[in-house]
Structure formats: C-alpha cells, structure tokens
Subunit: 334 residues, 2 copies
Amino acid sequence: MATIREVSKHANVSVATVSRVVNGNKWVSDSTREKVLAAMKELGYQPNSFAKALATNKSDTVGMVVSDLGGPFFGDMMRAAEDEVRKLGKHLIITSGHDTLDSEQDAIEFLMQRRVDALLLHLDSIPDEDIIKLSDTANIPIILMNRLIPELPDQCISLDNDMGGYLATQHLIELGHTNIACITGPLFKADARSRLAGYRRAIEQAGMEYDERLVIESDYQEAGGKASIERLRRRNMRFTGVVAQNDHMAIGAMNALKMHGLSVPDDVSVVGYDDMVMARYTEPGLTTVNIPVAQFGQQAANLALSRLGEKTGKIFQHFQPELVVRGSSGPAPK
Amino acid sequence: MATIREVSKHANVSVATVSRVVNGNKWVSDSTREKVLAAMKELGYQPNSFAKALATNKSDTVGMVVSDLGGPFFGDMMRAAEDEVRKLGKHLIITSGHDTLDSEQDAIEFLMQRRVDALLLHLDSIPDEDIIKLSDTANIPIILMNRLIPELPDQCISLDNDMGGYLATQHLIELGHTNIACITGPLFKADARSRLAGYRRAIEQAGMEYDERLVIESDYQEAGGKASIERLRRRNMRFTGVVAQNDHMAIGAMNALKMHGLSVPDDVSVVGYDDMVMARYTEPGLTTVNIPVAQFGQQAANLALSRLGEKTGKIFQHFQPELVVRGSSGPAPK
DNA sequence: AGGTTTAATGTAACCGGTTACAGTGAGCTT
DNA sequence: AAGCTCACTGTAACCGGTTACATTAAACCT
C-alpha cells in the first residue's frame, strides 16, 4: 500500500504538497496538482485513515449505540442515521447495548476508545445522571434518541409519549368505550411511565375514574401481553378496550382474547404502540401509535453533525406520535 | 486525555514498560506492573486506538456490508456477527450497500480505507468476477454471506437454495397438489435461479411436467406477489398451490387471492421463503422455508476470525434450509 | 572469580499522515 | 535596482502508540 512519501517521491514534490492536494488546499499550482494526482492514481494511493486520525485527532466517525441490532425499530433508525452521516463522507459505527446496563456502558466505552467524533445513543438501562456525567466529561457531542433528559434538552431527540398514550386512549373513548384496560411496559422505564400518564390524562379528562385495577405492568413482550389479559380476567375486571404500550404486547393480548372466544374488535378493541411491521399483517390489522423512527435516526445524526459544525439547517428534536387506525379497534359493544 | 508518555512519567518507568503492561507482556515485574496500573487508573488512561492501529497495522475491526440496515433479515445477521466479533474485543463496522452496484462498491472502498482486518460481505449487485478480483488484491480475509462463488468455496457461507425451492414444492406435492405455480425473484440473482431449479426438480421428480406458464418472474416485493397472481389469472392458468420465493411476495399473493374470494389454504395453498417475523402473524400463518440467518452472521464472523488466526474450531459454511409448516398450506381441494 | 544465562527495563526508530514555519522566485512598485 | 508582495513549495516536528535492540543487574554455573 503506497504511502504519502512514495507519492511525493514519484511526483517530485514534498509530502506537504501531496497532503495539500489530497485535502483540496488551494495553494497548489495546477501543474503540480496534475503531477500529484497522476502519481496517486499510478500508485493506487489510499490515505491511511489512522495516520490521519492520529494527526488531526478527528476520526470522521460517528458512533451509535442501539439496544438491539435486530428488531425493525432500530433498523430504520440506523439506516436513516447512516444515510445522513455518509452524505458527509463519514462513517457510522454501530454497536449493540443488548438492553443491559453493563453492555450499554461497555458499548459506549468501546466507541469512546475509538475516538468517535460524536455519539448517538439509544439507551434503556443507563440512568440519567450517568448520561449527564458522560456528556460533561466527554468533549464530543452526545445525542440521545427516543429519550428526554431534562438537564440536556438540546441533545435529545424525543417523542411525546404522554401524547401517544393519550391518543390511543382517547381513540377508544371516542368509540364509546368506558372500561379501558392498560398494559404497560416496565415502569422503571421513562417511556412506559409517560405513556401511562397519557392514558390517565385521557381517562380523567373524559370524566371517568382512573382505576388502578385496570392497569397491568408488563414487560414489552408478546408473552407478557398474553399474561396480562389473564391477570385482568382473574381480577374479574370488565373491559371492552385495551391500550397496550407496545405492539408485541398488543398482539399477545389479541391472541389471548381470541383464545377465550372473544372477538377483536367486536367484543374487545385493542390498540398497540410503535407501528411495527407486523401490525399491518395481523388479523385484524392492529390499530396503533406510530413512532417516526427514521426521523429519530436522521435528526440525531444531523444534530450531531451540526454540533460538529459540519452541517447547518433546521433540526427537529421533538416529535409527535400519530394514531394509525386499523381493524383491531371498533365501537364499544352495547 | 492522558498519553502513554504521561503514564510512564507518572509511574517512573519507560513507555515501553507501560506498553508491556497494557498488552499483558509477561516480562514485567509484579511491582512495576502495580505502579503502572496505579498510574493508569489515576490518569484515566485510555490507549489511543489510532496510534495503535498505525503502529501495528491492525485495526481490530471487522467490516460488514449488508444490503439494507433495516429489514429483519440483516438485523439477526448483524447481531450474531457482532456478538462473535466483540467476544474477541474487536469492533464490527457495518455499512449499507443499498442494493445497488455503486453503493456496494462504495461501501467496500469505505471499509478498505478504514483498514478493517476482515470483510464480511452480503452483496447483491457486484458480480462474481469483481469479488474474486477484490479477494485477490486485498490482503485480508473476505467472507461472502448467503452466496456461493465456485472459485472461492472456502470463503463463502451459503444456503442450499436449490434444496429450499425443492422442499417448498415437495411439501405441496405431498399434500396432493398437481398444479403449482412459482413466483420467483429477479432471475439475474443467483439465489432466485437456484430456488427455481429446486422447484423444477421437485415437479419433474414427481412425474409432472414443468410448465413455464406457471412461473412468474417478479421482484421480491409484496406488490410483485400480488401482481403475479393477477398475471396467472390472466393467463387462465389453473393452480391450487403457489410457491413464492420470499415471504413478501407470498403475503402479497395471499392478499390477492383473498381479494378474489379464494380461501387460503382451502382453495389455494401458499408457501413462502425466508421465515421473516411477519410470517408468524399473518392469517393464516405462512408456511415458509427457514433461513438460518443468525448462523450466517455467526459463522461468517468465525470464519474471518479463524483466517486471522484469532480463533480455532469448526466452522459451518454450508447450510440446509428447513420447512416451517403453518396454516397457509393444506390438502389440495378435490 | 569470571563467564554465562536470564529477567527486567530503557532508548529510539518507526508507522503515515498534518501543519507551522521557513524559504524561493516571479512580478510589481517606486 | 532595491524592496515588497504574493503564490507556491519544502522541511521537520508532531500525533501516540509498538517493538527491535541495547543495557543492566542478579543468579547460576564450573
């Protein structure tokens, strides 16, 4: 692999001149530039990115941590972020946090050691304080995706989860439902708490009473959704609507309801959250709340790049969810 | 950020000694090691990976090119590959080839410039010859995923697509179907051709005649599956079974059949290929051919690592698909 | 005691770029 | 013609590690 010095010998110029040509510095005469370009082409010269990074202390690399490299949710986010980053000739290094505290910390350390220029983080387990500390000590832009940390408002790309919970619940209320259950994610997660708050707000605003017995804390898994229906039945709670805090649980709930001979949506309406691919394919199609996942990735990347002074333009940081109505929700039975 | 020289001053030793401690070289006395470790901790020393890469000409990084960062197919592959790579303290850099020739070449060039230690490639558009050339010139391991290049058999992780096509078709034959249509992917792609060959083999082996009019070349998209059913009907072909070469097209086909008032599987049986997540959620569940996607990623990573001499053990390179029977296939109607 | 081995450590060149600074010569001013 | 710009180019230090080789001192022969 040819080095800059070989190129400089070949073209009869100094290394500084070659470097100038490579980096588009204007203080090079046309004839010299030609010579250098010819030599570069002849030797198949490719600059060594490590040497460059070492000398400039910049890696032209953006790091991203996601909870899970699989999963359609993150796929769209990664794709969108990579598009933005590569437009500027930079790389995206993606690592997985595997949804555990250790692994998330490990992933961040990994990327910091790689001296990424910025960090796009989707974290589930690391608490706010640690992120704030990281943001203070690391002297690179740190962007949080799908999370709102009050102390770092201008580094967050977030969704109004309260509004999402509200929309889902309000939809069922409008359809005439008066007994609406809620299956939540783990309530130590902020998004689950916000969605629940939105549910409660809708209930109370409609003049109904918030009944804790209709709320089941679950785990964001399909099996959890199923189990939640069983728990509701064992509590002898009457309900004609179910707001699940994600699509997995909603699908589990639908299956459990069917298994008990109940029809969705004739007997019970079900609303999900996330609008994952399968929501379109269930029978009936799942009414759910859409999250602009690709936007998260895109705007997070743009926010980071603008922090680095490499990009200008408006950046949207706070997104509103939208209700997607399909077949799983209908008028309340008489 | 502390450098190795600062640490060496702090511990009253030379840089060489610090380097030895960091890299676990045994020619260091216990007392010195203690001193150095203490100094490292005190200064919060983190080795600069670029300096290391520059000096050793190794990046501890494996590059991966996938067609699409979204899509459940690649998610599982990436996750499995990352797991393996990180077990050895290395990084996976993933870039997207976006399913186009230019973009795939670009992604490879990107990664080569980053001096990755090995390359895991899932390529759709780059022809065999170019890959062979790349493999010859690049002096790092190049591993192909889900592709079999005859000239590079020991660098390929592949699936027996012929067998997959055969299994799907044979399944319908066993159920008594005698008129079985096939909806293929773009036939310039090798996997589509192999799957079609398997279809034909099953048909002919059962003593039936291969009828070109029952074969529709499509595009691996849901809309394409739908359109293919329309074309079959316009051709006035009678069929009670459909073998689609991926799940997207199978789902499109199912929807089209339903739209024409036909029941799946009572009137027409449908078999897909890939066993994507949604195959479980359609109504009825989609009978399909499973691809061990995670295995691809895992074994590709292991193959690369073993080529680098960093790992030993058996590696599986050639996989057999398996039929997953769900509700979309049933006995042929009388 | 002198020579040899062995363990532990240090010195300095090197990896391949960037860039501050110095230097050169042509063209322009006065 | 001397002085001054200005455009262009070169020299060499530097980024932060690795590692071949030199050095040192203690231990172990015979």
